[in-house]
């Protein structure tokens, strides 16, 4: 163990200054130090996608990034995206389609889906399945999630559902 390091970053639009151990990963920093428990930890080695957050606009696995690496960045979590309303339509589509059961994968799933929808206006079902194929869901069988993302893409594209 080495000495704590001072970091400053922007989390969901608020400036955060903190002392962190160099080995602390971003997921644990968000969950334990900032109490932003919407970011979930499922596998702890970058496979399941439950800890997906946005750093400087790009989605990352926060269990694979150290908190010190987030120094000087802008981090956005599910709490931030929910409060800003950025994913309100996606959340509504998930609700209408029952695209979650236990909800543990859902913050990461919403992050990944929003990332796709920002990049591509009209992804088809195969493309959605491919983009979300790094996010485990053990409850839904994925179909409802694909449906909800597809619906959101259509609505955002100005087409009728």
């Amino acid at each position: 163990m080495t000495a704590p390091v001072s970091i400053s970053l922007d989390v969901n639009g608020e400036r955060v200054d903190a002392l962190v151990l160099p080995r602390l990963n971003l997921a644990d920093f968000l969950r334990e130090q900032l109490q932003l428990t919407g970011t979930h930890v499922g596998c702890e080695h970058g496979v399941c996608g439950a800890c997906t957050v946005r750093v400087n606009g790009e989605i990352v696995r926060s269990c694979l990034m150290l908190a010190v690496q987030a120094h000087g960045t802008a981090v956005e979590t599910i709490e931030g995206l929910s409060d800003s309303g950025e994913v309100a339509d996606l959340q509504a589509a998930f609700r209408d389609r029952n695209a979650l059961q236990c909800g543990f994968c859902t913050p990461g799933m919403l992050m990944a889906a929003q990332d796709l929808l920002k990049q591509e206006a009209r992804p088809d079902r195969d493309r959605i399945r491919e983009h979300l194929s790094g996010n485990y869901c053990r409850c839904t069988g994925y179909q409802a999630i694909i449906d909800a993302v597809e619906t959101t893409a259509r609505v955002r594209g100005g087409r009728r559902v």
């Binding site: 929910s82 979650l100 909800g103 194929s133 869901c137 999630i145």
Partner: protein, 797 residues
């Protein structure tokens, strides 16, 4: 087959206008989960909370010679290092047996191993520290001296005289054996035109709940009460067991279950490390948190299946199935899991084989053996996928042998839809099933004939696609016959309390729990319908032994059928009570009044008479204005358990359409269909999604999931990168259809739907793969159907 009410003249509560029952409604708890504002146990903190890390055995079987924790105790931040012997002062060991499973035996199991470890991953010490990271640091400097013992890993040789006996006091490695013989099996086989036999192999797999098992145990030494926050499916069971082994009264233990990140049967058990966490809290007089990491989850969450089942079927040339015979062997690890036992699955396999079919000639042997591997126990659709795969695999083999279409042979043998009530060859009682209606619906949904034509055309182009069909029965709504009769204090009844609050809204407290399947929603829908109040004015409280009626929780597909009926009956009583007092206030009679749209209305024309809110105001705040003698009771409780049938059997049929790449051995799932009959559908969307999720768990077992052990009992793929689960890119769209045969045991008529998807999916896939490979003469009776298995069967490797 849609069964109309026996007496359509009498309208039930379900026929009320504006009923939510049968309607797709969004679940009330989704917003919280989607905004990241749920509360899972892994999110919880408490003042003075310590975090526990368990030091786990690297050996599958070893004596513990000594533990030196002195260096670990000196690590700054370490609160305590506790060995098995020290913890045994606080918590007693247990033996996972049930008296109705005659002969079932197991050995005493401790919360932390004392002298000997019996599987790789069994805890040998607990390190409690101010953070998980500090506890892990300290765990690295605990020195444990082991003497490695020979590990029993292959269940096929577990009973051989040369194999060491894992628990010498038990005499041998046989935990349980059941034999069943019904009808005239030998004569039936002798009279058959063909007899087919196969060895079915089922890999060990596990639940991989996305949130690992998590517990916060908080012993309040001043109150002498233990509060356990745990993601569990059975809070009252946890309360009872924790109290029993810590020497407490049930009232000294409160179990709180908030959001649960996946369960699937994994979280219906009580694990040694969870027991240890309760005990550590009591020992250390402070809150202790345990969150399994992913490697621990793979090594200690119960594993499932792990069967080898030899099966035989006799058939006549006209397709009549004459007999079934099975010899099932299953390995359960070193202990029978507590308190539900690890023999239930094999018992279930014996019960369910041949279940959809008419033949009464059935012989079965099931043996359950100990091994030095992680404990194997109940997981979603206990025994169903084994029984379904064996039965349906044999039926397909028979059909192929006599040159009959797989659908046709099933139609000739499935129990007739007007043949109920009746019993299965293993003695299970069926109230009402709908195999033929379900098959007819499936055929229409998938356009079977067109698919067969497409398959033939593609086969000519060397594209190898297959169609697999699997009919099944499913055990739901269990009564005390599962556990209670065997002496386990696992409640089979559930209770619901409903009350009208002072603003005319409704609070329900239910003993069933929510793990994402929609218990909260279905309870609110039922209560809202009966009471005539809108969904947003119904609040459901669950998962708290201090604040809900006593009950079983959510397992074996019982939430809607048992908890839902209790909600219905409780709401009816409250409705009667409300109308009684409303009649007094309005100088009317209860029969002339109804409740609709959050108001008391005229029964005759629906005209509003008084808002519920106003009635509640008068009752709670101005009871002095009520007529003399009126004593309003605005809270009602009802409990329910099925009594006539020990289980509600449901049925269904699945079909898989897939393509096998005969060069690479890869299987591409193209489409999957399910028709299921779970009786009354309370929320069709939730039922469909339960089934889809269940199907995908079955598809995982069919194609990907396997816990791979080496010969020394080491689990070699204990991480999410090496243990494959289905991902969105590989899964097909799944069409779900329904036939509705309500159970007459309840007014609601609901049976369970939680296991159906998992019950039949693997069988449908295996039959489809064999169908695709038929031109090659290859038959595979093993899952997961990995490329290696397929290429081996094809003789390519």
């Amino acid at each position: 087959m849609t069964i109309a009410s026996a007496n359509p003249e009498i309208l039930s509560e379900l026929d009320r206008p504006n009923s939510y029952i049968g309607k797709t409604m969004p679940r009330p708890n989704l917003e919280r989960l989607m905004q990241g504002r749920g509360l899972y146990v892994s999110d919880m903190e408490a003042p003075r909370m310590g975090q526990v890390v368990f030091l786990r055995s690297p050996h599958a079987h070893a004596k513990i010679i000594g533990i030196d924790a002195a260096a670990a105790r000196r690590v700054p931040g370490v609160i305590a290092v506790v060995t098995g012997k020290e913890l045994a002062e606080v918590i007693t060991p247990w033996v996972g047996v049930l008296s109705h499973l005659k002969g079932l035996k197991s050995a005493p199991q401790h919360a932390i191993a004392i002298d000997r470890v019996c599987w790789q991953g069994e805890a040998v010490a607990a390190i409690v520290a101010t953070s998980r990271a500090v506890a892990e640091d300290a765990a690295e400097v605990v020195r444990v001296e082991y003497e490695e013992l020979e590990a029993v890993t292959d269940m096929r040789t577990a009973l051989d005289p040369a194999t060491p006996v894992i628990h010498p006091a038990l005499g041998d490695n046989l935990a349980f054996e059941r034999n069943h013989d019904a009808g005239e099996v030998d004569a039936a086989f002798a009279g058959s035109d063909e007899v087919m036999e196969a060895d079915f192999i089922f890999g060990r797999h596990t639940g991989v709940t996305l949130e690992p098992r998590s517990v916060v145990a908080d012993w309040n030494a001043a109150e002498e009460r233990l509060t356990i926050y745990q993601g569990t499916q059975a809070p009252h069971m946890v309360q009872n067991i924790a109290a029993l082994h810590l020497g407490l009264q049930e009232q000294q233990v409160r179990v709180v279950c908030k959001d649960v990140g996946g369960s699937f049967g994994i979280k219906v058990h009580i694990y040694a490390d969870e027991m240890a966490t309760y005990a550590l809290s009591k020992l250390l007089r402070r809150p202790v948190k345990f969150v399994a990491d992913r490697v621990e989850s793979f090594n200690t969450d119960i594993h499932a299946r792990d069967h080898r089942c030899k099966g035989r079927i006799g058939v006549k040339r006209d397709g009549t199935i004459t007999a079934f015979e099975i010899d099932d062997l299953t390995g359960i690890g070193p202990y029978s899991m507590y308190p539900r036992t690890s023999a239930i699955e094999a018992n279930q396999v014996v019960n369910l084989v041949g279940g959809p079919y008419v033949t009464k000639n059935y012989r079965a042997r099931a043996r359950v053996v100990f091994q030095n591997k992680n404990v194997m126990c109940q997981y979603r659709a206990v025994g169903h996928p084994i029984a379904c795969s064996v039965t349906e695999g044999l039926v397909d083999l028979a059909a192929a042998k006599i040159g009959m279409d797989p659908v046709e042979i099933r139609r000739r043998n499935l129990i007739a839809d007007d043949g109920y009530p009746c019993a299965s060859p293993s003695g299970l009682r069926f109230e009402l099933l709908s195999h033929h209606a379900a098959m007819n619906k499936l055929m229409a949904m998938m356009d079977y004939d067109a698919l067969r034509a497409e398959q033939a055309a593609l086969r000519a182009k060397k594209v190898h696609r297959g169609i697999g069909i699997a009919s099944f029965i499913e055990v739901t709504n269990p009564s005390a016959a599962f556990y209670g009769v065997g002496g386990a204090r696992i409640s089979s009844q559930d209770g619901v309390a409903v009350r009208l609050d002072a603003q005319g809204s409704v609070i329900c407290q239910t003993s069933i729990t929510e793990q994402g399947q929609g218990s909260e929603s279905l309870t609110a829908q039922i209560v809202g319908s009966v009471l005539g109040v809108s969904m947003e004015r119904v609040r459901v409280i669950s998962g708290d032994t201090d604040n809900t009626p006593y009950g079983g929780g959510t397992w074996a597909s019982r939430g809607a059928g048992i908890g839902g009926e209790a909600a219905l009956q409780a709401a009816k009583i409250l409705r009667r009570n409300i109308l009684n007092v409303a009649a007094a206030v309005l100088q009317s009679s209860p029969a002339e009044l109804d409740i609709a749209g959050n108001a008391i209305v005229n029964a005759s024309d629906g005209a509003p008479r008084m808002e519920l809110r106003e009635l509640a105001r008068i009752i709670y705040f101005r009871p002095d204005t009520l007529p003399p003698g009126i004593r309003p009771e605005l809270m009602a409780t009802r409990h329910f358990v099925p009594r006539e049938y020990p289980f509600a059997f449901t049925n269904g049929v699945q079909a898989s359409w897939l393509e096998v790449d005969t060069d690479t051995g890869f299987v591409k799932l193209l489409r999957h269909w399910v028709v299921e009959d779970c009786g009354t559908l309370i929320n069709p969307q939730l039922v469909d999604e339960q089934i889809r999720g269940g199907v995908v768990q079955g598809l995982g077992a069919a194609l990907f999931e396997k816990c791979i052990y080496d010969e020394r009992g080491q689990l070699t793929n204990a991480n999410m990168a090496d243990y494959l689960v289905p991902m969105s890119g590989e899964m097909p769209d799944i069409d779900v259809g329904h036939v509705v045969s309500p159970t007459s045991e309840t007014e609601l008529g609901a049976k369970g739907a939680g296991e159906a998807g998992t019950a039949g999916a693997a069988a449908a896939v295996a039959n489809a793969v064999n169908d695709a490979l038929r031109p090659f003469g290859a038959v595979i009776t093993e899952i997961p159907l990995t490329p290696q298995v397929i290429l081996t069967a094809l003789g390519r490797i």
